[in-house]
Symmetry: C2
Subunit: 230 residues, 2 copies
């Protein structure tokens, strides 16, 4: 633990060098719950209450937050607004990242209409595609641009995140291209496993099918347990 | 470990009572990689090769698969087709689950056009909404049905999974309704935290925003590390 020493505008204290993936994966959950508490006008919450709400142990919460310097005062619980601001900082919300979507098919379009980005401080600036019948169309307020002119656009506009919603076989080539342009984050929805050694960007791949399979597993398990009891 | 004794058609051996969430979350990954190997015509793979491909240790793979009875032969590696079939069974792929989507907005529509379901043995049978201007329309080959007639539809058709893509404030009420009808699985995309105590179904919630936040965290961390070096 390193007290409350932050390191510049990243909000990540120096002690946070070796924060485990599991903790990092839980941070967005804290962000969501705290946002909800703020909405409800809550000013303070004890780790016990937060624990009950989030279905994690109070010890776990204290341990998680201690990775970033604590933020709680013994006996006083957490200041909701302060904790939310701190976690937002750690998560890079205040960096004001700018994103583009590549692939204006059904899924890309639905993402472009979502509040996902806005609610997390990320500004969506453009939608790209290569199909002539889509280029130039306005979708959810975005004019679809020609993906062949990606380099040109990125030279003129700051882009931090490329969202891949194009067909899977094109994912790897596009990721390499984005990385070469200097785009630092790739949010990959194509299902392709990108070869990270070849890409100089941070990659986050979403496998929605894995979540469906987990659901099916748990249903199958529940049925099989019921069968056994009968 | 319980040898290779399966328990009936669930594919889940009796020894699998206490398989950890982490292992369960990894199973769909095995499923994906094995499917890809099958596509490439591979017949056998050693745990070493599979480990390299999946970026997990060979020990991890052996431990994971041992939770379900092993499936490998010392020195011979894994039979790809057999292992794929076994994991499919464990994941309930062969149960032939049937799903409906509730909420024919942008995201619901894009899901209905996805191969996500088909590729995992889940049959999508209908799309529901409450907006008069959408009901009766054909979207991706599905006629949008009136969500008020959900009970009627489910009485006449087997439905195992309800996919929630409706507005967040309606999620909790709809989940309770689906559970009451007897729908056993709920795949929740609304961002709402469903109160599991009140719902008698298996619930899997997808928070796509959490994945975006994780990406932002890692970008922020990388930037902050670079700042420090300079």
């Amino acid at each position: 633990m390193n007290g409350n020493n932050d390191s510049g505008r990243s909000g990540i204290p120096d002690g946070a060098e070796k924060v485990s993936t599991a903790v990092i994966r839980r941070l967005p959950r804290y962000f969501r719950y705290l946002r909800e508490l703020l909405r409800q006008g809550r000013l303070r919450i004890s780790s016990g209450e937060l624990s009950k709400l989030m279905h994690v142990t109070a010890t776990q919460i204290r341990q998680d937050l201690n990775c970033f310097g604590g933020f709680g005062q013994q006996g006083y619980g957490y200041n909701v607004k302060y904790l939310y601001a701190k976690i937002s900082e750690i998560l890079g919300v205040e960096r004001g990242y700018r994103a583009i979507i590549i692939g204006a098919g059904n899924f890309g379009r639905s993402l472009s209409s979502s509040t996902l980005f806005d609610h997390r401080g990320v500004k969506l600036t453009a939608l790209f595609d290569i199909a002539p019948e889509v280029i130039g169309k306005t979708i959810n307020g975005f004019c679809v641009l020609d993906a062949r002119k990606l380099e040109e656009y990125c030279a003129q506009n700051r882009v931090d995140i490329g969202v891949l919603t194009l067909p899977r076989p094109e994912a790897s080539g596009m990721a390499a291209r984005l990385s070469k342009i200097g785009i630092r984050g790739i949010w990959n929805f194509t299902g392709a496993e990108l070869e990270l050694e070849k890409i100089n960007s941070v990659v986050e791949t979403v496998h929605m099918g894995d979540s469906l399979m987990t659901l099916c597993y748990r249903m199958n398990k529940a049925e099989s347990d019921t069968d056994k009891k009968q």
